[in-house]
């Protein structure tokens, strides 16, 4: 029987965590729980509902900052930003549907805690690059803060980086300040048709190494392209490589032409504008091609090695792959297999450098297979010491990332 604690103030949150520490019981934290199945399963008798820490507290468009409760829905933040023609530059994905839930329920705290970022990661950075500061309560039940509300700050250790990607295992965040940026006036997408994986990696590399200022570079092998909701991509009848340009409208014609000239040797060209362009990049961002319930891996490698890493895996096991981040991010969907093919996937990251995360799999698979890249012993020991520095009694989400942490 699970009991849910729902503190109403930061002070009550401290009380709740102190109580758990004194009782030596663990807490699973959540607000809407849209990413509850991301990470190793956590089994606790008590769950800690952080949903009360919601709402935009401060949005200063001219200062390019926004402060909100950690449980504020991303949809609410994005709507407020859109009114001022701004956005979260790291393009946080909506993993709801991928993880078998409804769309648009994720929170800013969840996006930061999982360090999620979309296709613009290559240009704008990840969630971790946009967190300016936060308030939280540690596993010791102590309220603390780090960072600030300005974009340039080196005062003290940058604990915001540690919060990003810690999956709630260090502290329960209550308030987060992020950097926001103006939305691009216009978006266009240049499509290259029919390139093989290796050629596509070369095309994306050429585009990213050019002066066109590409803000998205993805490649869909034929099977994945066919699953797109964008007719020109689905109907291409083969592989499609997509390159996104964003910027002021008057410059767009020329930039599209320059980019086209650069990549036309890799295949026939096509172009997506406004709605279709936005739709395609939303599909990439949200991994919309991989609806279903089989295992899905997120594999980050040096971009130039993307095609080789993919070949390593697909030679061993059956699956579908598409590439984001110019080849540096592989999304791999497998038919249901017992061990989610983790040995094959990790052999590829071991060979090429990088790391792999099992984003979707049945709970019993995630309990058995390392969800995050296993670490060498000294790094694993350091990780454990960092966890203990925030949460020595293992109160917050123990085992969510690694057993014993």
């Amino acid at each position: 029987m699970t009991e849910i604690l729902k503190p109403g103030t930061p002070d009550q949150l401290c009380e709740a965590i102190c109580w758990a520490a004194a009782k030596k019981v663990s807490l699973e934290t959540f607000s809407v729980g849209s990413k509850r199945s991301f990470g190793r399963p956590v089994e606790t008798v008590y769950r800690l509902d952080l949903g009360v820490f919601a709402g935009i507290e401060l949005y200063e468009a001219k200062e390019l900052i926004l402060t909100a409760g950690a449980a504020t829905p991303l949809a609410e933040i994005e709507a407020a930003l859109a009114e001022k023609r701004q956005r979260l530059e790291f393009e946080p994905p909506d993993l709801g549907p991928l993880l078998g839930g409804p769309a648009y329920r994720g929170t800013i705290g969840g996006a930061i805690a999982c360090n999620l970022a979309g296709p613009r990661r290559i240009k704008a950075g990840a969630a971790r690059d946009h967190v300016l500061g936060f308030h939280a309560v540690s596993g010791r039940g102590e309220a603390f803060k780090s960072g600030g509300r300005v974009v340039k700050n080196v005062t003290g250790f940058d604990l915001s980086k540690l919060m990003a990607g810690s999956f709630g295992t260090l502290a329960a965040m209550t308030e987060i300040t992020v950097k926001v940026l103006p939305a691009a006036e216009e978006t266009r997408t240049v499509l290259v048709m029919g390139a093989g994986d290796a050629a596509a990696i070369a095309a994306m590399g050429a585009a990213l190494g050019a002066t066109c200022d590409v803000s998205g570079a993805a490649h869909f092998p034929a099977l994945v392209a066919a699953a797109s909701g964008v007719a020109r991509v689905a109907g291409a009848g083969g592989a499609v490589t997509a390159l996104r340009l964003e910027g002021p409208a008057p410059s767009m014609e020329i930039r599209v032409r320059t980019l086209g000239d650069l990549v036309k040797k890799f295949g026939a060209l096509d172009e997506l504008r406004s709605a279709d362009s936005a739709r395609l990049w939303r599909e990439v961002r949200d991994i919309a091609f991989f609806a279903g319930d089989g295992p899905v891996w997120r594999i980050s490698v040096p971009p130039a090695t993307g095609a080789q890493a993919a070949a390593c895996i697909l030679n061993e096991i059956e699956g579908k792959i598409f590439y984001d981040w110019g080849g540096g991010l592989l999304w791999l969907a497998l038919e249901s297999v017992d061990d989610a093919g983790h040995e094959t996937v990790r052999a590829a990251t071991a060979q090429h450098g990088g790391h792999a995360t099992l984003v979707r799999a049945a709970a019993e698979v995630r309990a058995r297979v390392p969800v995050f890249e296993p670490q060498p012993a000294p790094l694993a020991a350091l990780t454990k010491r960092v966890k203990e520095s925030f949460d020595p009694l293992q109160v917050l989400n123990p085992g969510r990332m690694v057993e014993g942490v």
């Binding site: 004194a22 340039k152 790094l379």
Partner: protein, 495 residues
């Protein structure tokens, strides 16, 4: 500035320590003589000096590992040092500590255009990275003003900035991988040529940790394609408020320039006298706004920014018509610090960050403080990101002026925090702002940061006396005191 009291036992064992180090690194890598050690007695914050116990200049990461493991076991403190350009005393030696200089780590190990990154040893200068790749049209974005001298390892340790931070980020946003040796001698790698990592973002934590967590022995940075073009506008305003409004209006129009720099009247005059950049002298504030990117985009944006500047009451406005002219616009700004050095025997450079819209309030208050302390001040401002550098003019030979300048500086930084900003935007806390940390952080905030240090350095041997005003023992910090939570808090709803 009070530094931790030197440990008499360590001072007494100096000879033994030198003998032990000689078994780990080549003899010529150990500096014992007082005259040679004097070179290392200070960094860019020259007001503070201290002879180090011993200076060691290792050549390989294995040597670094051996020296650190020995220090750990023997209980000897270590102060890591890059190029020694810190403006906050981050590399200030301690009388009972080894200064570990990374100057011999001066090679670029790999240039990888396919993955758009460079792997370098920590002693390579910031500018050398750009120079190594500019032939192919690439560059490394963060450009602290000391870039000709400062090292990439030091940049990571301090999370160095520069004038392009709003658009291109600080060091932390441009580092892909770090190799670091812990005080135990363990060699760790974080990140690589790929993006992000599967565990805690320890690389992000290390960046800006000011030498308190370990010694960096290798850095992988991302390189970017140089913009097709860059053009600058030089805009004079009758009031700093108008210049501030112009900056806000540019951002409100959805434009993020490559850089936006502001100078006040004293800074404009000093710079113009020094380099004759053609700055207008009858304005209160000067903005340099640089747009970079694809040619077509820059041409369009220059027109828009020009219109915004005129709407906000610009008195003078020039657009660079050639690369030479763009460089000339920058020449004055880049020479601002030495230009101040010409008109004052000494100056003290501050580094707070403020919300941009607070600039007029802060400048007014600085003027009042200037009158109260009887010390002149010139302001240069990274207007895009809110990072303010007041330069306090003083003469160290006049009794009391240095102390006055320090007090004035502390008042400015407290003001920055009061208006919603922070103590340091890019220079680091070091020893300089250490005792002001409580202005910004509570005791619990600081304790949590120090507990993280304990996870890396449980005996507090790495760069002690920097960043944190109070040294706590890790055992004491680690203890769990639960004074609350003994009752089942009837107030908290449960379901």
């Amino acid at each position: 500035m009070l530094m931790p009291k030197p440990d008499g036992q360590i001072l007494a064992r100096r000879g033994d320590i030198v003998a032990a180090l000689r078994t780990m690194v080549p003899h010529e890598s150990i500096i014992v003589d007082e005259d040679e050690r004097r070179v290392y007695e200070s960094d860019g914050l020259t007001a503070y000096r201290q002879l180090p116990l011993i200076v060691v200049l290792p050549e390989t990461k294995e040597q670094v590992s051996r020296v650190l493991a020995y220090s750990h076991q023997a209980g000897v403190k270590v102060v890591p040092r890059g190029a020694g350009t810190s403006l906050s005393g981050g590399a200030l030696p301690l009388a009972d500590a080894i200064t570990l200089g990374l100057g011999k780590f001066n090679r670029i190990l790999e240039i990888d255009f396919a993955n758009r990154c460079v792997v370098a040893q920590p002693g390579v200068t910031n500018l050398a990275i750009t120079q190594a790749v500019e032939g192919e049209g690439f560059y490394y974005a963060p450009d602290p003003s000391s870039q000709i001298a400062c090292s990439i390892g030091g940049n990571v340790a301090e999370n160095a900035g520069g004038i392009h931070c709003l658009k291109y980020g600080l060091t932390t946003n441009n580092v892909l991988g770090v190799e670091m040796v812990l005080i135990t001698g363990e060699i760790m790698r974080f990140g690589g040529k790929h993006l992000d990592s599967g565990g805690y973002d320890l690389m992000g934590l290390i960046t800006g940790s000011e030498g308190l967590l370990g010694v960096i022995t290798e850095v992988t940075v991302r390189i970017l394609r140089s913009p097709e073009t860059a053009r600058a506008l030089l805009i004079g305003f009758p009031l700093s408020e108008a210049a501030g409004d112009c900056v806000a209006a540019v951002i409100a129009a959805g434009i993020i320039p490559g850089s936006m720099e502001m100078m006040d009247r004293p800074a404009i005059h000093a710079a113009e006298d020094f380099v004759q950049a053609g700055y207008p002298l009858d304005v209160e504030a000067l903005l340099i706004i640089e747009l970079d990117g694809p040619e077509a985009e820059v041409t369009d944006l220059i027109k828009r920014v020009e219109a915004i500047a005129r709407d906000n009451g610009a008195l003078t406005l020039r657009v660079s018509q050639s690369e030479d002219e763009r460089q000339l616009f920058w020449a004055g700004r880049k020479a601002a610090f030495p230009a101040i050095g010409r008109i004052s025997p000494d100056y003290y450079c501050m580094d707070g960050t403020i919300p941009r819209h607070k600039l007029p309030v802060v400048l007014n208050r600085i003027r009042q403080l200037s009158a109260r302390y009887g010390l002149r001040v010139a302001n240069v401002f990274h207007a895009g990101d809110g990072n303010l550098h007041p330069l306090i003019l003083y003469d160290a030979n006049q009794p009391g002026e240095l102390e006055g300048a320090e007090e004035f500086g502390a008042d400015i930084l407290k003001l920055c925090v009061k208006v919603g900003g922070v103590l340091t935007g890019e220079h680091g806390v070091g020893v300089e702002k250490r005792d002001l940390m409580r202005v910004m952080f509570t005791e619990d905030d600081l304790k949590q940061q120090q507990r993280v240090k304990c996870a890396f350095d449980p005996d507090g041997l790495l760069n002690p006396g920097k960043v944190y005003p109070t040294l706590h023992r890790c055992a004491e910090l680690g203890r769990v005191h639960i004074s609350r939570g003994q009752t089942r808090f009837p107030d908290i709803p449960r379901f």
